[in-house]
């Protein structure tokens, strides 16, 4: 027993020590953006077009001679804000709907839960593509669209958990003490299911990051002058045969940030739910 808990500590350290620095860098980039970027977004350098990493341009330059590192830093804001905003939107509205329908219960709960099942099974990108082709996209619309796409997942998880909590001893106890339905949901059930919602929240951030990156890569994200990591990759793609270097860095950025979020979610899952871990 002591052996397995030792391995767990080591493992969790590895995951936390990988995830925190990566996310801290992404967060700092997103917050400080133009103050720490070495060049301005419009800093065209016509003497260095699609250059490989040099002393002047650490990550190289793009097809207009703009510094990749600076654009990467400035693009962080859109990528991070859209993913975080969408996940917050999905978590809050989805959980509230989940709580509401399980409070009402009966046919409505069953119907909402089956509808959520069908929606969750469908690939997420297609509805986003549809919406982006119908409206003139901007970061707010993108955030809300992605948020709505992940909303049913929270509805489903919350209503399933409330259902199983309904017969738990602590709920029976609260009810026997005369607590009202709303009180039971908000001050007894919600705090108990919150850790699971937090795990879901973390994993949804990674899905949202990926979805935003994919849409922007396809040219269906927020249009210029907004930049995001995925948009950088998409716009550098045609020049990959001229020089593959510039595209490597935004790609790696997306990869590391998504991996860090996943690994952190994984760690948090073990943390709140120790009996599941191997």
């Amino acid at each position: 027993m002591s052996d397995s808990s030792l391995t767990f500590t080591r493992q969790s350290d590895w995951r936390v020590w990988f995830a925190i620095p990566v996310l801290a860098v992404a967060g700092l980039f997103a917050l400080l953006g133009e103050w720490i970027a070495p060049y301005s977004v419009t800093g065209y350098d016509y003497t260095a077009i699609l250059s490989s990493p040099t002393a002047a341009h650490w990550f190289g330059t793009d097809e207009l001679g703009r510094d990749i590192l600076s654009r990467l830093i400035i693009a962080s804001r859109t990528s991070v804000a859209v993913a975080l905003g969408a996940t917050l939107f999905a978590a809050i509205t989805g959980s509230l709907i989940g709580l509401l329908v399980s409070y009402i219960g009966g046919r409505l709960e069953a119907a909402v839960s089956s509808a959520a099942d069908i929606f969750i099974a469908l690939p997420d990108i297609f509805f986003a593509i549809l919406v982006m082709s119908l409206v003139a996209p901007n970061p707010t619309i993108l955030t809300i669209t992605i948020g709505i796409i992940y909303m049913p997942q929270f509805t489903k998880i919350v209503s399933a958990m409330v259902q199983s909590a309904r017969h738990a001893d602590y709920v029976t106890a609260a009810r026997s003490m005369g607590a009202s339905g709303t009180r039971i949901i908000f001050s007894d059930i919600l705090p108990n299911i919150l850790p699971i919602i937090v795990v879901k929240f973390t994993l949804t951030i990674s899905s949202a990051l990926l979805l935003e990156a994919s849409l922007s890569f396809l040219g269906l994200g927020a249009p210029p002058p907004n930049t995001s990591w995925g948009q950088m990759v998409g716009s550098l793609k045609p020049y990959i045969y001229n020089n593959p270097w510039p595209i490597v860095f935004p790609s790696l950025m997306i990869f590391f940030v998504i991996m860090a979020v996943n690994v952190l979610g994984d760690w948090f899952q073990d943390y709140v739910n120790p009996e599941v871990r191997r």
């Binding site: 509808a115 069908i118 099974a121 469908l122 690939p123 997420d124 990108i125 297609f126 509805f127 593509i129 549809l130 919406v131 982006m132 082709s133 119908l134 409206v135 003139a136 990926l210 990156a213 994919s214 890569f217 396809l218 040219g219 269906l220 995925g230 990759v233 793609k237 990959i240 045969y241 593959p244 595209i247 490597v248 790609s251 790696l252 997306i254 990869f255 998504i258 991996m259 996943n262």
Partner: protein
């Protein structure tokens, strides 16, 4: 109700609900397709009326909906705004290409994921077992286009071994067709290889601990035979289930892959139609994609019911 009938009902409901969502989203969301197509400047009332008629958007909503449904049942997917040709022609041409890519991706994920999973299950603490698990994690976390770009940079740009884009029909030149297929299928399959590896490892490790495997070993059957002939077939059931569940995200991944490798399948058609705001084509592509999704999920469910009869009772 019978298991198969229930699965069929879910599949039909999925197609109907998802395609209706597409139908209503196009007509109800704030963006007006007619205005999006025409732009603000050219919009005299007659022009708007003519375009609305061309899009079939001049009738009341419920009339449009039933007209659209009955057309759909007769495989009439409407006329493309861009080319003026029936969308169905394009769909028939492109659907097999997407299915080919999908088959390639599934083949790659199984042929990489299963052996790596077996290795990790048989030697959990060995170097190779751990390496297999780390590779799986990377395959899972890397976004599709990152994997695809890495493969392009290695195999097309640096080594010059494989083409990074394009498509040759199989009937015209089978070798060229398969060479074009390799990189996109690898990109699609690598992520799922990670999933397949994880499930294979967990499921085989569990099966190897079962009583019947112990009995097989006690009877003196060789280690390899007890793993491959007795344990592995049973351990494959969850793997098939997961492939079925993951079909949706595979279709989603194909959007990026077809774009990245210029593979002229259904998803590239969808994206081209989005750029051109060709609404009949967008609508038709999505309906066909959701139909393929439901059909594949349904076949996986049927397959699971046949291999694992216990599932039918649930």
């Amino acid at each position: 109700m019978n298991y198969y009938l229930r699965r069929l009902a879910v599949a039909i409901a999925t197609v109907l609900i998802s395609s209706s969502l597409v139908f209503f989203a196009i007509r109800i969301l704030p963006g007006d397709p007619v205005m999006m197509l025409l732009g603000e400047s050219a919009a005299t009332p007659e022009v708007i009326a003519r375009m609305a008629e061309r899009l079939g958007m001049d009738a009341p909503l419920h009339v449009q909906y039933f007209r659209w449904l009955t057309d759909l049942l007769q495989l009439d997917f409407g006329t493309s705004i861009g080319t003026g040709l029936p969308v169905a022609n394009e769909l028939i041409k492109r659907l097999p290409r997407s299915l080919e890519l999908m088959a390639g991706g599934i083949l790659v994920s199984l042929s990489i994921g299963i052996p790596l999973g077996v290795v990790a299950a048989r030697r959990p603490d060995s170097f190779i077992g751990n390496a297999a698990s780390v590779l799986a994690l990377i395959g899972l976390s890397a976004p599709t286009f990152v994997k695809g770009l890495i493969l392009i940079i290695i195999f097309s740009i640096t080594l010059g071994l494989l083409p990074s884009s394009g498509f040759t029909p199989f009937t015209q030149d089978p070798v060229a067709n398969l060479r074009n297929l390799i990189l996109p299928s690898l990109t699609l399959g690598l992520g799922f290889a990670g999933v397949v590896q994880r499930i294979t490892r967990a499921s085989l490790a569990e099966t190897l601990g079962k009583d019947y495997v112990r009995t097989v070993r006690a009877k003196g059957v060789s280690e390899n035979a007890s793993v491959y002939r007795h344990a592995l077939p049973n351990a494959m059931i969850p793997v098939i289930a997961v492939v079925g569940i993951r079909i949706g995200s595979m279709l989603g991944g194909m959007v990026v892959i077809e774009n990245l490798f210029n593979w002229p399948g259904l998803s590239s058609y969808l994206i081209e139609a989005c750029y051109a705001r060709d609404y009949p084509a967008i609508q038709a592509c999505l309906v066909v994609i959701f139909f393929v999704f439901s059909l594949v999920s349904l076949s996986m469910d049927v397959l699971m019911g046949i291999i694992n009869p216990r599932r039918r009772d649930v």
